[in-house]
Symmetry: C2
Subunit: 184 residues, 2 copies
Amino acid sequence: MKDTEQDIIDSAILIFNEDLSAPLEKVAEQAQTTRRTLHRYFKDRKELMDSCQKEVRKTCHAAMLKAYNSSDDPMEKLERMFYAGVDCGTKHSFLHKLHTMHDHSHQAGNEECSGYDNTFHVWKSHLQYLLETGKINPVLTLDWIHHLHHGIVAASIATQTARKMPDAELKKLAWVSFSRAISI
Amino acid sequence: MKDTEQDIIDSAILIFNEDLSAPLEKVAEQAQTTRRTLHRYFKDRKELMDSCQKEVRKTCHAAMLKAYNSSDDPMEKLERMFYAGVDCGTKHSFLHKLHTMHDHSHQAGNEECSGYDNTFHVWKSHLQYLLETGKINPVLTLDWIHHLHHGIVAASIATQTARKMPDAELKKLAWVSFSRAISI
DNA sequence: GGGCAATGTCTCAGATTTGTGACATTACCC
DNA sequence: GGGTAATGTCACAAATCTGAGACATTGCCC
């Protein structure tokens, strides 16, 4: 019981995250299928890329929202959202990468961009709240903490893929680091 | 007074860091020159890539060593090395990326890999020392802190390129975050 | 201005990547 | 077994990328 289309999308996210212009052969290989099959599901590179964008936005957005609503304690909300980021793994990184690329000019008018902004709106407004209520080091800016969040999530994923330790333990470690980094 | 060869290498590092398989046209464009000129300095893609690797290793290695020797205080050594990482910017990220890629099998036998290991050997052994002497949260592992270091440096660079604040101020902020993240 | 080195323009052949058609193979349901 | 949907194999043309030759242009030193 396997979903080829989903496998291809997941593989593409994995590959494109490391190498945006990688040949589609690599994606097919990662998905353990052939380029021919890939093209049966996606007309061309652009369509595949669009599906990837949609996928990462959908997944991350849902995970963020769920995490946000999973607790009443403000700091715990942040913790859950942090774990959500790690759980989304490569998708989380890819989404962020696409919108912080050197040539990418971020604009609210673009649908992709507003989707991205929307995904992290919950996180950002909550962080703004934590800053205002003095739960977080006021020296730090919202933008810095946002990048920091992504940086530490990326570090978690890198450590995971290197299989240095169990996922649950690592997540906890990463959260310890992040929470201390932004604490008063 | 400009050094075309160096411009091309720097541009290549910038481009390849984001898109490893980007066409050489993009690199030339970034260097404000043409593909033809690029090929006058570098026989082919491989040769350019090799030059990039050599460049990042050389630059980062020198910066790390200099930072390490610029202070006697153990914690200050770490701080200086952190700043060195931020100053090396994209080069630092690129070096790390090349050796933590999904397909890249890291092996000491390879010259590139031993060069990479060598570059961060100073940092790692110093961190080991800080861990053993109880200057750093003993819950954290060396490998985790290594990835964390790279993650926060990457976040700094991302924030820099977004021009959110002056470099010096940002570096300080980033260090505050990093030092707290690993503190007891 | 003459000479010279560096670079740009135009061109092109070869290599690689891409998208698709035709048909074989496999897996599974009835 | 027959039918069918999904996938694999092979083939191929179009598009793109790559590397290099031929020659024009630019900038600079004397």
